[in-house]
């Protein structure tokens, strides 16, 4: 397979290719290249067109308070060849941070740059729609900046002294009563305030008549809000659509209703304290979230888990993938109108897997199972027997039954085939990942492209389909479940005995200074953790490349020209979880 023979990017010396414009990042523990801001677009275009780095996976900001710098970090991949990331960085002064937007080159940067503007206050010149995305328009300040203090601020990093050795009990709201915990701009009065947020949302949408006539009737464009409280949006997610009759002209996702500044919390936490918080990102696949985070920190710490732990990790991640996909398929059918019968047949199977998680990790969904250099607990023999029975007998049968039930159903087919089509080029340009990307004909799976853990030892195929519609996204998920079962069978066959943890479990780990990007193939797509350590107990930067969030960038594109009723199905086929979208 082409992906296996990825060309080494170590041979590519960008500082030689672009002399004077690009310099290698020589800070200790760092890698990649620093690009002059004014040359950023040029270099990115060249990398995309001439060097094959056509996929912008992650774009995020870092606030270097002491150096007075803001830095954007871009992770680019070669989607055809696979292999490690090419890391570009662009720096800008902190007091007036301005950078050129990469959205015209990589449309997938759209939401990520909006996020960087929202949370860090970096302005991107040339961005088509630079508005806040997670906070609301009119919010004062940029909450991820290092000098920003949240409403219940206590200390820069945990553990807080009031708990130990302090020992006094208080509730945050007692110390800081309602209304006293918000920052206002100077001279702010509530009387003179008008709400910008709503106007800003609609400002980006077209209005007025199209001038088209339908059977002699003049039609107007109308704007419709779906959500935030709408059962089809899988959570508190809002979609503002402009309609021409029933057809979608333009669609604007509005998110952030579940925003809790997860990354800020992560920077206050110590390294180990972040593990249970990652459970709460994509709460349907907590094991995989754990996996990505521990991989990133293990890269920094330069440790490896023992063999048995590696196998257990893969086993848990694949079981999670099955859980997630059956859930996604069940709820896709719900969105299409098959109210809960298919969903519940599938949830029954998921429930059996969750029982295993509960017995092994202690919790059905908030697993908190992986640790740096291992896993928390060994899998008891009776649970292994149960997994074996599930993987060899029950689940394959259940998936066959599901396919017989759904795949050839004429209603499903007529609702799904040819709806929400995303072309291969668009899928890459919009930085989609996971089943959405693979349903559009791109055989890109992190487990194959840049194998982590022990995925290089298993015999499995990268599921791929070529039409890019809802139906193919459904089929890719079915294929992936079958491949996961294959991996699980091999895992159970080869599972060695022995230790499950390298070294002694520690409640405070030493993480050497530097940066690391750990990425895993989550059920929803590539989940990446960008972590910077300064050698202290808390991470300096903790960024999550959330697949659901970035897959939504292409949502508008997929829906254009379709009926509004299909939008619900298209959203279901992307499979989002708002815990991860809003973070």
């Amino acid at each position: 397979m082409a992906l296996a023979s990825a060309p080494s990017i170590t041979e590519l010396k960008l500082d030689r290719e672009f002399p004077g414009e690009v310099t290698a990042d020589t800070r200790k523990g760092y890698s990649g290249y620093i690009v002059k801001p004014e040359k950023l677009v040029e270099v990115a275009t060249a990398l995309r067109d001439r060097y094959g780095f056509n996929y912008l996976s992650s774009a995020t900001a870092v606030d270097y308070l002491e150096q007075g710098q803001m830095e954007m970090v871009y992770h680019l991949y070669n989607i055809q060849a696979g292999g490690p990331a090419l890391v570009l960085k662009a720096q800008t002064p902190r007091d007036n941070p301005v950078l050129p937007s990469l959205t015209p080159v990589f449309p997938g940067a759209n939401f990520q740059e909006r996020e960087a503007w929202d949370l860090y206050g970096i302005r991107f010149t040339g961005h088509p729609n630079l508005r806040r995305i997670l906070m609301w328009e009119g919010f004062y300040g940029h909450p991820m900046r290092k000098d920003w203090k949240e409403a219940y601020y206590e200390e820069e990093g945990k553990p807080f002294e009031t708990r130990w050795p302090g020992g006094q009990v208080y509730r945050a709201e007692e110390r800081n009563p309602f209304g006293h915990n918000v920052k206002y701009p100077e001279g702010f009065t509530l009387e003179g305030w008008t709400e910008e947020a709503e106007r800003a949302v609609y400002a980006a949408l077209p209005t007025g008549g199209t001038g088209e006539t339908v059977e002699g009737m003049k039609t107007d464009l109308i704007t419709v809000n779906l959500g935030p409280q709408h059962p089809s949006t899988h959570g508190v997610f809002r979609v503002v659509v402009t309609l021409d009759g029933e057809t979608i002209v333009k669609l604007e996702p509005v998110m952030g209703y579940l925003h809790r500044n997860h990354e800020k919390i992560g920077e206050r936490n110590t390294f180990i304290q972040n593990i249970p918080f990652t459970d709460r990102l994509d709460y349907l696949s907590s094991m995989c979230n754990n996996f990505g985070y521990v991989l990133a920190v293990e890269k920094l710490m330069n440790i490896k888990p023992p063999e048995r732990a590696e196998y257990i990790r893969v086993m848990m991640a694949e079981l999670t993938r099955i859980c997630n996909h059956v859930w996604a398929i069940g709820f896709l059918l719900n969105d299409l109108g098959a109210f809960f019968t298919p969903a519940l047949y599938l949830i029954k199977e998921r429930e059996l897997i969750l029982d295993v998680f509960e017995a092994v990790a202690g919790s059905r969904m908030m697993c908190n199972y992986m640790r740096f250099g291992g896993v928390a607990r060994d899998v008891p023999d009776e649970q292994l027997a149960k997994i074996r029975e599930l993987v060899h007998e029950r689940l394959p049968r259940a998936i066959d039954e599901m396919e017989a039930y759904l795949t050839h159903n004429e209603i499903v087919k007529s609702r799904c085939i040819g709806v929400g089509v995303l072309s291969t080029e668009d899928a890459i340009a919009y930085s989609t990942a996971g089943p959405v990307l693979r349903a559009s004909g791109v055989a890109y799976d992190v487990r194959k492209a840049e194998p982590y853990g022990i995925y290089d030892r298993f015999d499995f195929k990268c599921a791929v389909r070529y039409n890019g519609d809802i139906y193919d996204r459904y089929l890719v998920r079915v294929d992936e479940i079958r491949e996961s079962l294959k991996i699980l069978q091999q895992c159970l066959r080869d599972l060695p005995g022995g230790e499950i943890q390298t070294g002694k479990p520690q409640y405070q780990v030493r993480v050497p200074a530097g940066e690391a990007y750990g990425r895993v193939e989550n059920p929803k797509g590539e989940l990446g953790y960008y972590i910077i350590s300064t050698g202290k107990a808390n991470p300096y930067r903790y960024h999550i490349r959330a697949p659901s969030f970035i897959n939504l960038t292409a949502f508008g594109k997929m829906c254009e020209g379709h009926k509004i009723a299909d939008m619900v199905g298209i959203l279901g086929s992307i499979d989002i979880v708002l815990g991860e979208v809003d973070r």
Binding site: P165, I272, Q273, T341, A404
Partner: protein, 234 residues
């Protein structure tokens, strides 16, 4: 033929429908409120209706299940002796910082002593991650199985103090028998090692035989057999 896919799908729905009655017949009226049946109904061979008649019926809680920590005390002459030494590791590792420990000082010297004056957990904040139990070096704090904690008033009822958190070691042994047995075995070995060291000096011979003679608790230590405070007492 168009429509065959739908018919086949409906056939599967019909199969599920029939299965639910077949499984009722299979248990001859014993399908519900019967722990034997519950095990099969919820296992990998489950067929028919999958629901559990909570709260009359309950899913068995697996040993590793974790929900809100509790403090272990050992009962000695009617007095509660908490294992906690107020070392503060749980408070330091706690991700949402929901643990507060009030330390106590020796009334004579004024120096801190390893016995918490009070110990609070705000269960509204606790995220049930289990780190406190995992990293406690004294096996003093463990995760509970009791998840029915709803109350009408969060202000007065949801900050648990030492009294509310405390549970006897026999309770711990009953909810987590294998963990308990493993920890007790490790502790007995530790004691034996210490005793063996002491035995190298002829004066301490007596202590060594005492430790060696004490058998490690069996894998399923019944809560009634109170071997728990034995290693400490030596």
């Amino acid at each position: 033929m168009y429509g065959m896919g739908i018919l086949r799908g409906l056939g599967i729905v019909f199969k599920h429908f029939v299965d639910s009655y077949l499984d009722d017949l299979r248990w001859l009226g014993n399908r519900y409120y019967n722990p034997e049946a519950l095990k099969v109904r919820q296992g990998p061979k489950a067929q028919g209706i999958f629901t559990v008649q909570y709260p009359e019926e309950r899913l068995p809680t697996p040993e590793e299940f974790r929900f809100i920590p509790f403090l272990i005390y050992e009962e000695k002459d009617g007095k509660k002796e908490y294992r906690c030494t107020s070392c503060g590791i749980c408070a330091k590792v706690c991700p949402p910082q929901c643990i507060w420990i009030e330390r106590s000082n020796d009334p004579k010297t004024g120096r801190p002593i390893p016995d918490p004056k009070n110990f609070y957990i705000d269960i509204d904040i606790c995220m049930n991650c289990g780190f406190c139990a995992e990293f406690c070096p004294f096996d003093a704090i463990k995760m509970d199985h009791d998840f029915e904690l709803a109350s009408y008033d969060r202000i007065s009822a949801h900050i648990f103090d030492k009294e509310r958190l405390g549970k006897p070691v026999s309770y711990y042994a009953s909810i987590r028998p294998t963990n308990y047995a493993r920890e007790e075995k490790a502790r007995a070995e530790e004691e034996a090692k210490k005793a063996a060291k002491a035995a190298a000096k002829p004066a301490a011979e007596k202590a060594a035989t005492g430790a060696a003679a004490r058998p490690a608790p069996a894998a399923k230590a019944a809560p009634a057999e109170k071997k728990d405070d034995a290693p400490k007492s030596e």
